[in-house]
Symmetry: C2
Amino acid sequence: MTHRIALIPGDGIGLEVTPVGVRCLEALARRPGLDFAFTEFPYSCEYYAEHGAMMPEDGIEQLRPHDAILLGAVGYPGVPDHVSLWGLLLPIRREFQQYVNLRPVRLLRGLTSALRDRGPEDINYLVVRENNEGEYSEIGGRLYDGLPEAMAVQATVITRKGSERILDYAFRLAQSRSRKRLAYATKSNGIKHTMPFWDEQVAAMAPNWPDVQVDGYHVDILAANFVTHPDWFDVVVGTNLFGDILSDLGPATAGGIGVAPSANINPSPDMPSMFEPVHGSAPDIAGQDLANPIAMIWTVVMMLEDLGEQEAADDLMGALETVTAEGRVLTRDLGGQAGTREFADRVLAELKG
Amino acid sequence: MTHRIALIPGDGIGLEVTPVGVRCLEALARRPGLDFAFTEFPYSCEYYAEHGAMMPEDGIEQLRPHDAILLGAVGYPGVPDHVSLWGLLLPIRREFQQYVNLRPVRLLRGLTSALRDRGPEDINYLVVRENNEGEYSEIGGRLYDGLPEAMAVQATVITRKGSERILDYAFRLAQSRSRKRLAYATKSNGIKHTMPFWDEQVAAMAPNWPDVQVDGYHVDILAANFVTHPDWFDVVVGTNLFGDILSDLGPATAGGIGVAPSANINPSPDMPSMFEPVHGSAPDIAGQDLANPIAMIWTVVMMLEDLGEQEAADDLMGALETVTAEGRVLTRDLGGQAGTREFADRVLAELKG
Ligand SMILES: CC(C)[C@H](C(=O)O)[C@@H](O)C(=O)O
Ligand SMILES: CC(C)[C@H](C(=O)O)[C@@H](O)C(=O)O
C-alpha cells in the first residue's frame, strides 16, 4: 500500500527537520508492504517573496489528493504572521476541517523535566485542541482607528457542531486509555457567553461515557496544575486558544518545545490530515544543524499511526526513545553535543537494528 | 492619618484569612501616626442566600468612601460563578475602574519552587493584568439555542484608552525597576483583530520609554517560558484573560496559589482599590484552620504600599519572609504542620520583634 505524502518543508529549521522525517519514512519503507510516494510543495515565506502569496490559488486543491501532509515549520522575519500563517497553516487546518489538534505531552525516557522531582511516570497526557473555530475567528474589526476613541472588537464563535465533534473525539480517546480521565478547560466564571455554552456541551455528553471521569478546570487553574500536578492529567480538551496555550505549556515541562509533536486531524478518510512539530521555524538557529529533530520524528510517528501503520509507528517511537533513554547522543537544547543529522543518524541506526 | 478600610471576608477560607490581615494591620497600628478604621461588609454567597443578591443595590456606593477594600475570597458550592463573581468581584473591579490587576510572582526565601533547580534569585517578576475590558465582556449571546445549529458568540473588546492606561502603568513600573524589562503577551499570529491592535499600542508607546527593554511573546510561548526561563522576566503585561492565566501559572512555580497576593488598583485617589489573595474560597478546606495566610499577609503588604505606608509594608513583608526563610512554621500546603492561626501568630511575633 502506497501512502501519498505531501511534504511542505516551509522555512527555517523546517528545511532541516523535514528531511529527517523523510529519511525515517524511507527507512521504514524498506519493509515489505509499506510504501510512500512523496510530493514536495515549496509553499513558504520564500515562495511568498517570489509569488506574493504563501501558496498558489489552487494550493489547497493540489494538497487534497494526498493521504497526509507533513509540514516542517513556517515563518520568516520580515513576513508578518498574518501573511505566513493565515496564508498557509490556518487555511490548511480549516479547508480540510482538521478540527482535532492532538498534542501528546509525555516525558521521554532519558529526558529531564523542568519540574522538580518529576519523571516519565508523572508526565503523560494528551492535549486535544479544537482547531477550527473558537477564539481564532476572522470576525471583527476596528472603530475610530487612529483616534483616541479607537477600539478593536473580535468575536469568539463556538458552535454546537464544532464543540460536539471535538468533545466526541476527546471522550473517545479518554475511553481508550487505561486511566479514562478527561479534563476540560473552561473559563465560564469570567467569559460569560461562549464558555458556559462549552460547559453545557460537556455536561450533555458526559452521560454517554459513563466510564470516563470528567473534571472541569478554569484555564488559569489548569495551567497552574500542569506545573504542580501533571500526574493528574490523562486527556485534556480545550478550545482553540486554550488548547494552544496548554499545548505549549505542557511540553515546556517535558523536555521543551524541541521535542513536541502535533497532528491536525480530520478523522474522516476523505480529507488529508496534517502533521507538524509544535516548534516554529526558529530563524535564529536555522541552517546550522542545531535543530532538535525529535519533534519531527515523533510527528512522523503520529502520522504513521493515523495512516494505520501502527507497527511502523511503534518501531520508530521505540528507536527514538531508546536513543533518548541512552542519553549519549542528544542535541544542544537537551544538554547534548549532537547536531540535527548526527541525532537522526543514531535513531536510524537504531531503527535498522 | 486614619485609613478607612472596607473589609469583605466573603466565603470559605476568606473568613479565616481576612482576620489574619486585620490582626497584622492592628499590630502595625500600634505605631504612632498609623491608624485604620475598619468597616466590615457581609457581602458573600451567604448574603446571597438570604437576600437574593451578593450585595445590596447601593453596595458599590457603600464601599466608595473607603481608602481601600480588603477582600478574602468569594464563592460557594451551589452558587453559580456568574452569580458570585458577576455579582460582587467583577462589579467592584469595574465600577471603581480598578484597571490594574497587579500580581507579584516571587519565590519567598525558604519556599521550594516546583521548578527544578530554581531559587528565589530566578523567580521575581510582576504580572500586570488589564482588569476592566478585553476578553471578559458582557457582549454576546446565543443563536439557535437548543438546536443542532446552536452557537454562542462572545466579543472581546480592546480600547485604545483601556490599553494605553494599562501599558502606561506597566512601562512606568518597568522603568522603576533595576532590570527595566517589559514583556508583553500577545497572540497576534492567531487572533486577527484585537491582538494586532494591542501590539500597535505597545509599539506606539515604547519610544517614550527608551530605557525599558520591550519583548513581545505570543501567550503560548510566554506560558512555556514561565516554566523554562522564569529568570527572563521582570514586568509582564497582558490583557484580562492572558493576565489571568499567567498570574495563576507564575505562582504555581513560586510556592503555589496559597502564597499569591493581588491588588486591583485604580491609581487615582478618587476611587478605592481592592486587595485580595489570588486563591479562591476553597470550600474543601474551609473552617479547618488549614488555609495558608501568606497570600493574605502579602496582600496586606500591597495594600499598605498603595496607601503610601511603605515602612509598615516593608516591616510586615520582612517579618513574613523571616518566618518563611526560617522554615520552622509553615502550613501543610508548603509541607509544614502549622495551622492558619499558628502561622499568623509566628509572623505577628516576628513583627513585634
Ligand atoms: C474568579 C475569576 C472571575 C477571577 C478572574 O478570572 O478574574 C479569578 O480567576 C481571578 O484571577 O481573580
Ligand atoms: C502559529 C500559530 C498561529 C499557531 C497557533 O496558535 O495555532 C501555533 O502557535 C500553533 O500552536 O500551531
